[in-house]
């Protein structure tokens, strides 16, 4: 691509998502996470380790902030100074939000992270040079860097443990950034199967590993383009729009509406593909 071509046709190559004139065609993968159902049990996180060949880094590296949990549970307490947290804790499954206008994408000097046609924020490991700009620019802090070559690090995957590695997923080497992919290997397989049969992927045909494990079914995943999909219905009911122009319907009303769907850091206009449903607490007790 010549520079002049790129500059002349800038809008074609650097397409700001989401835009009305160029909607997603077949697929737009999205999620809804119900914080009222989530119990904070960590099953999703372990499922992610199993599915995506995440290394266990050990205490010392964890302390240095080098843990590799693509899916983590954040736990918050109330800030109101009460003696006891008598309405429990707040759990928050945090994973890559697959932003439509991802802040990480624009800063990558080598184009290693970019947007796919079905709305994923992809990471090309082979292209990554490890500048870590993307991680610095991620508002959700969900990008994880390989500070070490884990396959050759002691006690990460010793002996037989290598046999558990998922052959559908690369084992990343030193100096590469990685993050949640919405289990792209599962998506690709489902899409391939569907294409072979001349159809689109059915709703529910593909699950992410975290969704599949979740004991309370707090995670809904699917194709937002398909209006009958569970996830699209949830987004529609909560009136959360992927490409909300200014504010979401919920936030337009004074004091909020009686809906509970929201996206984190909506104000940054990264347009995340993960909608959260507020945790509910009974007022009668």
């Amino acid at each position: 691509m010549s520079v002049s071509n790129m500059l002349e046709n800038w809008s074609k190559f650097r397409h700001m998502h989401p835009v009305d004139d160029k909607p997603h065609e077949e697929y737009k993968w999205a999620m809804a996470i119900d914080l009222d159902a989530c119990s904070g049990c960590n099953a999703c996180s372990v499922a992610c380790y199993a599915e995506n060949n995440l290394p266990v880094v050990g205490k010392q590296k964890f302390d240095a902030g080098q843990q590799m949990h693509w899916m983590r549970i954040e736990r918050y307490w109330d800030d109101d100074g009460r003696e006891f947290p008598d309405q429990g804790a707040q759990f928050m499954p945090m994973l890559c939000q697959q932003c439509e206008a991802a802040p990480c994408e624009t800063v990558c000097p080598v184009g290693a992270t970019n947007h796919t046609a079905d709305g994923l924020n992809s990471q090309v490991y082979n292209r990554c040079i490890g500048s870590r700009y993307c991680s610095a620019n991620c508002p959700f802090k969900v990008r994880y860097f390989n500070w070490y070559d884990y396959p050759t690090t002691d006690n990460v995957w010793p002996a037989e443990m290598t046999q558990q590695l998922n052959p559908d997923v690369t084992v990343r080497g030193k100096g590469v950034m990685e993050k949640c992919t919405f289990c792209v290997q599962r998506l690709e397989r489902a899409k391939n199967n569907a294409r072979t049969e001349g159809r689109l992927v059915h709703d529910g045909e593909v699950q992410t590993a975290c969704q599949q494990a979740c004991p309370t079914s707090a995670i809904t995943f699917g194709n937002l383009v398909e209006p009958e999909s569970k996830v699209a219905k949830k987004w529609a009911h909560q009136q959360v729009e992927l490409a909300a122009k200014d504010v979401q319907a919920k936030d337009e009303q004074e004091g909020g509406s009686d809906l509970r769907g929201y996206r984190i850091f909506e104000e940054l206009r990264a347009y995340p593909s993960v909608m959260y449903l507020e945790r509910v607490r009974e007022s009668a007790i």
Binding site: L35, S39, G40, C41, N42, A43, S45, V46, A47, A50, E51, V56, V57, G58, K59, F62, D63, Q67, H69, I73, E74, R75, Y76, D79, E83, F84, P85, Q87, G88, A89, Q90, F91, M92, N155, E160, M161, T162, Q163, Q164, L165, N166, P167, Q212, A213, P215, K230, H237, G256, D258, L259, R260, Y262, E278, R279, V280, R281, E282, S283, A284, I285
Partner: protein
């Protein structure tokens, strides 16, 4: 799926050996690297084996007693991942983190690979036939009652063989020991409802009041309860369910409650009677025996004893009266005292008064074959065994699936008494603290390599036999299945009876197929029935359900006053059972160690939870290494300031502090089992886990706690990240 022309025997081999055929032609990494084996493509590939395409086999999770049904994903003969079996009535396709870590139990590099015979401090490799011969030799001349078998909770056909073996030896000494089982609750349930483990219908309840039952984390059957909980929380025709959790130390379930009520340790029964009394005062009719017991428990008095505000008690009573049916659950927090049985009995009265029995507390399904039903483990059995050991009554001890040297209270001197047994045989996956003491260690197949059946204690919607089958070829050639070893031992005694069974697989097949008409297979030929059984991984029992018999009287129920101030040991120690580490047997699975504790977010260590108020009084800040001393011992660990705990209590999680068990468990954290006082529940004789009193002192050292929560320690710092909304401000009814 199967063509008629396909040779049935081959097909059975395929399914029956759970992927062995694939494994044979798959790549054992090391042997290829060593040049022992070469990669040869299929000349005639098995019909179902397409390189790059996964196959799935059903089996049963062995990580905890809930016994969830699992589906293993295999590629080229290696098991990669475990999922829940969607057809299970227990876990409905879901699986917790502990269950998923089952692959790490299987691939663990620290597994025992050869039979080991003690020679001084060392274990020397010995051949299997010699090992089995040695057992026979050591048993000769030993009387039946000098032989004992120590296991954890046990069910299925392995239990049948074990009982037969004990019978053949003339021994009745089967001790089933589980360090953190709900054993007092079982006894109390038996009295109150007529069954030890009724079916709990969270999904039907409008209000759930749990006295310290961590049913979303580590209690009984967490995946089943979690799914019910999700339904309970949905705003369906019952409305959104309300969860109230009452405990002294916040559990995962407590962290999910609409109202978490902190209570003075040990006064749970008093609060229960206070609620009963408040219900009576608000017009709920109380049976005469209940009224007689509860009338002394006015809200003011109860509030004084428990530390729960009187208006909170009345509010809770009003909620329970208004929203029926409700469900009241007794958990380990309430049972862990010398008066644990009375606590549990008082709490069970609430269900009686509220009319929940038969509505949200239902009879479990019958298990029509009692010989395979579960023998649940408890804590008193290890005390009984310990007495026999101390008296030198036991000459030969078999142990399997439990680790009393690690978990039994120090006061029992279990390890010392174990040394008095002349010959100890351990069936082991790893060299843990108990099997390390054995004279002969027999290496077991992993749960993903072995055959078996199980019947869980908590049955869920229906009773069933869960099938455990090998998901792949054995990793190590010299391990054996427990069933196979027991069968070999039985053949030493009852050759005639068992000679037709070549191995445990053939025994199992024959035992299941023999009963096919009772197992829904009447009309099917044996092979078809067996094939379907393995393919489903589940055999439903056709069984009627029991009736609950709620006959217990409240008369005679006496609760002790709250525990006195104890100046020497001012704090209550509440050892916490976490969802991933439980009693510590899985501490060598690195996913579980690196999985942050949900409440503190701490990894790879133990900690001491203190209320910030208590910590301030003692001048302790986060990361201080503190010494926690009880009458039975002391441990040193990092202090963590935790708002979800009673100021008179401290909590240390169980499960870490191993001195053996492999590279990921050894020397991680401290063992809180070691400082528990030997105090038992007066009625059942079960060790009272929360009765230990402790004092705390600073050691002067301080560390940075390795944890996942950020620098602001769980505050959202005014940013809208995880949002909570009151039921008043949200419309849930139309939600999809």
């Amino acid at each position: 799926m199967i063509e008629n022309s396909f040779n049935r025997r081959d097909f059975l081999k395929v399914l029956g050996w759970g992927g062995t055929a694939v494994a044979l032609s798959g790549c054992g990494n090391t042997s290829i690297q060593d040049g022992v084996e070469t990669v040869v493509s299929y000349v005639e590939p098995p019909e179902y084996a397409i390189p790059g395409i996964s196959v799935y086999f059903n089996s049963t999770c062995a990580q905890c007693d809930a016994g969830c049904n699992i589906t293993g994903r295999l590629r080229e003969g290696r098991v990669l991942k475990l999922e829940g079996n969607p057809n299970s009535v227990i876990n409905h396709g879901k699986l917790c983190g502990l269950g998923q870590a089952g692959v790490q139990a299987h691939y663990n590099p620290d597994r025992v690979r050869e039979p080991l015979l003690r020679n001084g401090d060392k274990g020397e490799v010995i051949a299997w036939d010699k090992a089995l011969g040695l057992i026979n030799e050591k048993l000769s001349g030993v009387k039946g009652d000098e032989i004992a078998f120590l296991t954890g909770g046990l069910s299925g056909h392995v239990k049948v063989l074990l009982n037969n073996y004990l019978e053949a030896l003339g021994s009745k000494n089967h001790y089933a020991y589980e360090a953190v089982s709900p054993s007092v609750v079982r006894a109390a349930n038996k009295k109150a409802y007529g069954v030890e483990m009724p079916r709990l219908r969270l999904d039907k309840a409008k209000v759930v009041v749990s006295f310290g039952a961590d049913f979303l984390g580590a209690w009984v059957s967490p995946v089943n309860f979690s799914q019910q909980y999700a339904k309970f929380r949905k705003a369906d025709e019952n409305g959104r369910g309300v969860l109230v959790q009452i405990e002294s130390k916040m559990t995962l379930t407590g962290a999910n409650a609409d109202r978490w009520i902190v209570i003075r340790p040990g006064t749970e029964g008093i609060l229960a009677l206070g609620i009963v009394n408040a219900l009576g005062a608000s017009g709920v009719s109380l049976p005469a025996d209940v009224a007689a017991v509860s009338k002394a428990y006015s809200s003011e008095r109860v509030s004084k004893d428990t530390g729960v505000p009187a208006e909170q008690i009345e509010k809770l009573a009003a909620l329970l009266k208004e929203r029926s049916p409700s469900l009241v659950i007794t958990g380990s927090a309430a049972e862990g005292y010398a008066h644990g049985s009375q606590n549990a009995a008082a709490i069970a009265l609430l269900n009686r008064v509220l009319g929940n029995i038969g509505k949200t507390i239902e009879a479990p399904a019958n298990v029509p074959f009692p010989q395979v039903a579960v023998t649940t483990g408890n804590r008193s059995s290890v005390q009984a065994l310990n007495d026999s050991l101390a008296n030198g009554k036991i000459k030969v001890l078999f142990s399997y699936g439990t680790n009393p040297v690690f978990t039994a209270p120090t006061a029992l001197k279990f390890k010392e008494n174990l040394g008095k047994v002349p010959f100890k045989i351990a069936f082991a996956h790893y060299l843990d603290e108990t099997s390390r003491e054995a004279d002969l260690v027999l290496p077991l197949d992993s749960a993903l390599e072995d055959w078996g059946t199980s019947v869980p204690e908590y049955l869920g919607e229906a009773s069933q036999l869960s099938i455990q089958q090998p998901l792949m070829e054995k990793l190590h050639p010299n391990t054996k299945g427990l069933g196979d070893i027991l069968l070999a031992l039985l053949k030493q005694r009852r050759e005639k009876e068992y000679k037709d069974y070549e191995d445990f697989y053939s025994y199992l097949r024959s035992a299941v197929v023999k009963n096919k008409s009772a197992l829904g297979g009447s009309g099917e030929d044996d092979d078809t029935f067996w094939t379907n059984t393995l393919s489903n991984g589940i055999v439903p029992f056709s069984a009627s359900s029991n009736n609950l018999s709620a006959k217990s009287s409240a008369a005679g129920l006496v609760l002790p006053p709250p525990a006195d101030e104890n100046s020497g040991y001012p704090l209550h120690l509440i050892p916490s059972v976490t969802a991933s580490l439980r009693d510590g047997r899985h501490a060598n699975q690195p996913w579980l160690q690196e999985s942050p504790d949900p409440l503190t977010t701490i990894v790879w260590d133990s900690w001491v939870e203190l209320h910030p108020k208590t910590a301030a009084k003692l001048g302790i800040v986060e990361g201080d290494i503190v010494e926690v001393t009880s009458r039975s011992g002391s441990v040193k660990a990092q202090a963590y300031l935790f708002p979800g705990i009673h100021p008179d209590a401290v909590s240390i999680p169980l499960g870490n502090g191993h001195v053996a068990l492999g590279r990921w468990a050894k020397d991680v954290g401290v063992n809180a089992f070691g400082i528990l006082d030997q105090v038992v529940d007066k009625e059942t004789g079960e060790l009272a886990l929360n009765e230990t009193r402790v004092k705390i002192s600073k050691t002067g050292k301080r560390v940075f706690i390795v944890k996942d929560e950020g620098a602001v320690g769980g505050s959202q710092a005014g940013v809208k990240i995880a949002v909570r909304v009151s039921t008043d401000d949200v419309e849930l009814s139309g939600e999809v």
